[in-house]
Subunit: 289 residues, 2 copies
């Protein structure tokens, strides 16, 4: 089965189980709306690609880990969009969950997706206790406190921000979860995969900063890279547009280099290359060609 | 070690691990504030008492299950108090988490406590995979969708409420989690313990309804039991004060009767009796004496 199909199937099975008998109808809809249709599903695709590179010996545990990471990513988007955070009315081109279903169901959908993520991984405990134990520790660490995405988001509430901790926790941690849990789900060593995840996480952060700068340039007629809308230093502010594009390319190259020699390495490197084209708008890619 | 001490120690260790290096300082404080000082800790006490009645053969797994259930209870209180739900400014006699630390940290603290709950149970996978697998499935089912506390809260967003599903999910489910996971943590059968949890959950729901009726009587000078502030039918509305008190006593008696014959039964029955005195104000207990 194709990776994309495996991921959608695992997510579909998870959501169907969450919508089971007894579920309040509006809540059941909000849960599905939070997960489908998806974005690029890059984190679960990475997770599957790493497990494949490591021998793909337990696809069911890998699928559970990949789907769990995507559910946690979806939960973080639903909560990040809430009025008290980004107050985003749109997500992936349609109303955000709280705009479509109200703030209460958005809070609850995020909560239930977190629970669901751990629930689907826990279903693999009997089949593969040692690997699942490591996968769960990794996913929890990359999601909660002190250094997961919740902690990353919480840095936005501090008056003094440790910028490296902020970025690593907010954007990097789920990429690390994807690569490391991919390896752990098949019992493989994780050291080099952690590096791949860290580099890719940083690359996405730079791509985000570039996207923000482009958007504010288009929307507000401001010159590119002069400021950041949240007043926090970012890669564009620090390096300028061209410098940030170069930095992004360096990070992608470094992630690619970090992939250890193995039968699945070419496929994984192709995935990284395709992703780097997707996240870097062509108009920018030319700048630092 | 005394049960109360075991519970506080397990919760303390969990919060300390969540506050580890790299945690944003305000977030670290909000996490601790969400859990300490606690309320009656009735759910983890029940969990320990059931495991004790079943032989107490794996106290570390039982402690993890008990602490996880309390963390999930705390998370639900933090989110329930949010402006979009109950908009409560007070909890246990001091400012609620969002009043003390802001709405964003309250949302994030709830999220991170959910993650932490599963994380601490997952640490016992290697030691006791079969029991932990069952404990995790139980805790997830009683917390998320379709029938856990998230689903219970979500019924409040529906125009037509299935009242039994609402109460069972919102109040009952964590009591069932406490008794069932207590038995599962030591590999014991769960059937009769589920009944104990269900009956106690219903008793707490009736006690809540009585408490609301008493409070609105005191605060607003309204006669007892004439209405419910949320406009939903409840035990007091249905049965009147005396009837509700009688119902509560019947439920407690039925929970006590459901405790299977075992060496720990008297201690567990004493705990239930003490709790029923705690949740039923003396002024009411006399009414249906």
């Amino acid at each position: 089965m194709e990776p994309t199909q495996r991921i959608e199937q695992a997510l579909e099975a998870a959501i169907v189980s969450a919508q089971g008998p007894g579920c309040p109808p509006g809540f059941a809809q909000a849960l599905r709306y939070s997960v489908f249709p998806g974005g690029a599903r890059i984190r679960p695709r990475l997770c599957l690609a790493v497990a494949w590179a490591c021998g793909n010996s337990d696809p069911e545990t890998t699928d559970a880990a990949a789907a769990a990471i995507e559910l946690l990513h979806c939960a973080s988007l639903v909560h990040d969009d809430l009025p008290c955070f980004d107050d985003s009315t749109l997500r992936r081109g349609r109303p955000s969950v709280h705009c479509a279903y109200g703030e209460r169901l958005a809070v609850l959908a995020g909560d239930a997706l977190i629970v669901l993520a751990f629930e689907i991984v826990a279903r693999r405990i009997i089949a593969a206790p040692a690997n699942v134990s490591r996968v769960m520790a990794t996913i929890a660490r990359c999601t909660g406190a002190p250094v997961g995405i919740c902690a990353g988001q919480a840095w936005e509430c501090e008056s003094e921000v440790v910028l490296e901790d902020y970025h690593r926790a907010k954007t990097g941690s789920l990429f690390v979860a994807a690569t490391v849990a991919g390896a752990e789900s098949v019992g493989a060593p994780t050291e080099s995969w952690r590096l791949v995840g860290e580099r890719l996480g940083e690359a996405y952060q730079v791509a985000d900063d570039l996207g923000d700068a482009m958007a504010s340039s288009r929307e507000m007629g401001k010159p590119l890279g002069r400021d950041s809308s949240l007043g926090r230093p970012n890669a564009v502010q620090e390096l300028g547009i061209e410098g940030a594009v170069r930095r992004l390319k360096d990070l992608v190259a470094s992630a690619t280099d970090a992939v250890p020699a193995c039968p699945g390495a070419p496929a994984l490197q192709a995935l990284i290359a395709a992703e780097s084209r997707r996240i870097l708008p062509e108009e920018l890619a030319r700048l630092a060609a």
